[in-house]
């Protein structure tokens, strides 16, 4: 069992002017797989390090299974961790690096041997077991760091960007292995990543952090479909959701720069009811909800608008059109066949029922 509870956790580094983590509240259930995402420097590693006991908690209470752990030494927390910077033991071979924790627990030699080899196999670093970390490539080192964590049967597993230096293929493989290991061991896991696919596929719940504050906690689908504010909306999904500041009046969204769409009745009613008539709101639409094909043009008549293509990126099956209306950028994701030369103006149809509407001041979601 390992239920983690963070209550009003705060972290103020000595050299930093502002707290790196401010009033952090989070309940993690036993065996849950939590993914932290957030911009660089938002405090993800800091929270992980506090949970591991490597960083003092400035304020607040941190419990595991109801027991306050603020002052417990790291070694007594039964936590395994993949460090963002690996922190390998340079004077030990890869084998010893991975097996070190087992050795400390006086695991029999043969068992260590077996478990290390098994972990190394999963990670594809079996040929390098006798090398020292200095003789490995970056990705190989990162896998050793992973190996060190997964070889143990810790109650809690913390991983700080554990796959960032691996190639896509290996990453997919590793993702699958992590899922398997999680299923088998059932360790409560916190996982930091910048890779949206990883976040989406691995997480039971995702925690979005910005500036040391939690912005939203929810399942991947919740975050994708119902972002609570423009930050989350803009952060989840790649390419990011297009966010336009517009004015709402008379069932229409209009911007000074020439953007204008007519909202479906249901939506405009809600906006009016909530008192946004004649007010500024932020209109959000994902690139994949903007369409170019004729059928869409007919389906989403109210959502049609014109925009100027600036860059056109062909990405295998897809094409990314970076367009502009005035100074606002709008990204459109089309099929490869939708390729348009830069400089042309195109008509785009937005699926307005999939669009998001935020308060321009609080940035919180309206609908």
């Amino acid at each position: 069992m390992a239920e983690i509870k963070l209550e009003h956790i705060k972290k103020q580094y000595q050299n930093a002017s502002e707290p790196s983590v401010a009033d952090y509240n989070l309940d993690i259930h036993d065996k849950e797989f939590i993914v932290f995402v957030g911009p660089s420097g938002s405090g993800k590693s800091t929270v992980l390090r506090m949970i591991a006991g490597l960083e003092e908690i400035t304020d607040g209470t941190f419990t595991i299974d109801g027991e306050v752990m603020n002052e417990v030494a790291p070694k007594d927390r039964e936590i395994a961790m993949v460090f963002q910077n690996y922190a390998l033991y340079p004077h030990m071979t890869v084998f010893d690096n991975i097996g070190y924790s087992l050795k400390l627990k006086k695991t029999p030699k043969t068992e260590i041997e077996e478990r290390v080899h098994q972990a190394a196999k999963i990670l594809g670093i079996e040929p390098y077991l006798e090398r020292k970390p200095a003789d490995l490539s970056g990705g190989q080192r990162q896998r050793v760091a992973m190996g060190r964590a997964i070889v143990r049967d810790a109650k809690i597993l913390l991983m700080d960007e554990p796959l960032s230096n691996l190639d896509a293929k290996l990453r997919v493989q590793m993702r699958a292995e992590i899922t398997k290991i999680h299923k088998r061991m059932g360790a409560t896991t916190i996982y930091v990543t910048h890779d949206q696919t990883e976040a989406m596929t691995l997480a039971d719940r995702i925690v979005i952090i910005d500036h040391g504050d939690i912005q939203q906690i929810g399942t991947p689908n919740e975050l994708y479909n119902e972002p609570t504010n423009t930050f989350v909306a803009g952060f989840i999904g790649s390419p990011a959701m297009n966010l336009l500041e517009v004015e709402y009046y008379d069932g229409m969204l209009v911007s000074d720069e020439g953007f204008s769409v007519t909202l479906p009745q249901g939506i405009s009613k809600q906006l009016t009811d909530k008192g946004y008539e004649d007010k500024k709101i932020v209109f959000g639409i994902r690139p994949e909800d903007l369409h170019l094909d004729p059928i869409a043009m007919e389906t989403y008549v109210g959502g049609k608008f014109t925009t100027q293509v600036e860059i056109s990126e062909l990405l295998g099956a897809d094409v990314m059109l970076y367009t502009k209306i005035g100074n606002s950028e709008i990204v459109v994701r089309g099929k490869g066949s939708d390729y348009v030369a830069p400089g042309t103006a195109i008509q785009v149809a937005a699926n307005l029922s999939k669009a998001h509407y935020f308060d321009a001041v609080t940035t919180n979601r309206i609908i």
């Binding site: 490597l54 070694k75 961790m81 460090f83």
Partner: protein, 445 residues
């Protein structure tokens, strides 16, 4: 377009006349290629060397072979009414300066070789039509690719003059009859080959040599290991997280390094005397009824010197170790904490190996230093208590202190040198062996 490297020999064979002339008149090639300063340097080296060599060097080399022929004597001077001294040759100085001459010759040949190599390089650059490095380029190379030359030349020159030259001189003495019967300046001594070696390994010196050798090794190991281990532990304690007053503790321990050893050791001697303060106090507290023979019993004295040496050696180790600890990678220690290591295990598996990594070669050096640790023994016990089973030595005498007594008193420099060579050989073999092992062990890549 890979350039082929010419060897000096090939360059001499295929090179142009400038190259060839460089083999006779150093610096020509450089001068003719416009490297004026460099060329002049080589030329000056050659000229001054030969001037010196013909004026002094040859004679000096000859004297090295004979070690002097002309003995000091007195002749009666009627006018003054006393005998007047007629200076003779001083074998010792002839030997020393003979050795120095050889070193100078070697250094000259090294310069000659450098000259040829430099000429070869110019030849090569000619061959591939490349530009000749200017003085400025040469100088800036000294700050970069040739930095080691800039940095090491002067120190190495110091080593040659003040370590290697005396060393060769001392080794040479082992092959002469420089003993109390052949003391300069009155007497000459001469080469005798390996005679002395037999005298040491045979004679009654041997029955003392081997027991002392045994103790010397025990001492060196104990002195090195105890100072190191406990110094490291002390540093760990002082630098432990959450300990306040680190600076104060450090300074307190450093105090012992700040007072001359001959005073502190004298005081130790006083304190540990049969009627010294330690014994007096212990007797006053009725812990003991008879004084403990800290310095007067052979075995006790051995233990005492090792312990006193810890008192002296630990602060220094503490200081280095503190330095090393401060540079330790905190990340790895964190990782180990997460891996479940307790403080001791972190020390054993991470901190200590890294300290050892830094310290290992210097530990070997310290071990050797302890074999030759003159001060502590000489000042604390003077080698005593004397042991009538030995020849002119006490229970705590190391080979060096014994050697010191032998030379200072008996003036048998040749025997001392032989023993010196034996110590030297032993420690050299040990240290090179240990060094190779350590290097292998420490290969972090």
């Amino acid at each position: 377009m890979q350039t082929q490297k010419l060897s000096v020999r090939e360059a001499l064979k295929v090179g142009d006349w400038r190259m060839k002339l460089s083999a006779i008149i150093m610096g020509t090639s450089q001068l003719l290629h416009g490297q004026i300063l460099k060329g002049l340097w080589f030329l000056a080296v050659e000229i001054s060397f030969f001037t010196w060599f013909f004026a002094r060097g040859i004679k000096s080399l000859q004297s090295l072979i004979t070690l002097g022929t002309h003995k000091q004597g007195f002749v009666f001077d009627k006018k003054l009414g006393i005998n007047v001294l007629h200076q003779g040759d001083n074998s010792m100085l002839l030997l020393l300066f003979g050795v120095a001459t050889i070193l100078v010759v070697v250094i000259f040949f090294y310069q000659y070789w450098v000259n040829l190599k430099s000429a070869r390089k110019l030849q090569e650059l000619d061959l591939y039509h490349k530009s000749i490095p200017t003085l400025k380029e040469d100088l800036s190379a000294l700050l970069d690719s040739k930095l080691h030359i800039l940095l090491m030349s002067v120190p190495v020159a110091g080593v040659v003059a003040f370590t290697i030259l005396p060393l060769i001189y001392m080794i040479s003495i082992a092959f002469t009859n420089y003993d109390h019967n052949h003391l300069p300046p009155k007497n000459l001594f001469s080469w005798v080959g390996f005679e002395n070696l037999g005298n040491v390994l045979g004679g009654d010196v041997a029955s003392t040599f081997f027991p002392l050798l045994g103790w010397t090794i025990v001492w060196a190991i104990m002195a090195t290991v105890t100072s190191f281990l406990f110094g490291v532990l002390l540093a760990m304690l002082i630098n432990a997280k959450g300990i306040k007053g680190k600076k104060v503790y450090r300074t307190l321990f450093i105090l012992t390094m700040a007072v001359p050893q001959f005073i502190t050791l004298l005081i130790m001697n006083n304190l540990l005397n049969d009627s010294g303060m330690v014994n007096t106090m212990l007797m006053n507290w009725h812990v003991i009824s008879h004084p403990l023979p800290f310095l007067t019993d052979g075995t006790w004295a051995k233990v005492t010197v090792i312990i006193v040496n810890m008192w002296i050696g630990i602060p220094a180790t503490m200081l280095v170790t503190t330095g090393i600890l401060q540079n330790l990678n905190q990340d790895q220690i964190e990782a180990a904490e997460i891996d479940g290591a307790n403080k001791f295990q972190i020390f054993r598996d991470l901190t200590f190996p890294q300290i050892l990594f830094v310290m290992a070669p210097s530990l070997i050096q310290q071990f050797i230093g302890n074999i030759n640790n003159f001060n502590v023994i000489f000042l604390l016990t003077g080698g005593g208590p004397m042991n009538s089973d030995y020849y002119n030595a006490g229970d705590t005498d190391l080979l060096v202190t014994w050697l010191y007594k032998l030379t200072i008193d008996a003036a048998d420099y040749n025997l001392a040198s032989v023993i010196g060579i034996l110590i030297f050989t032993l420690s050299a073999v040990f240290s090179l062996f240990a060094y190779k092992r350590v290097n292998k062990m420490n290969n972090l890549g």
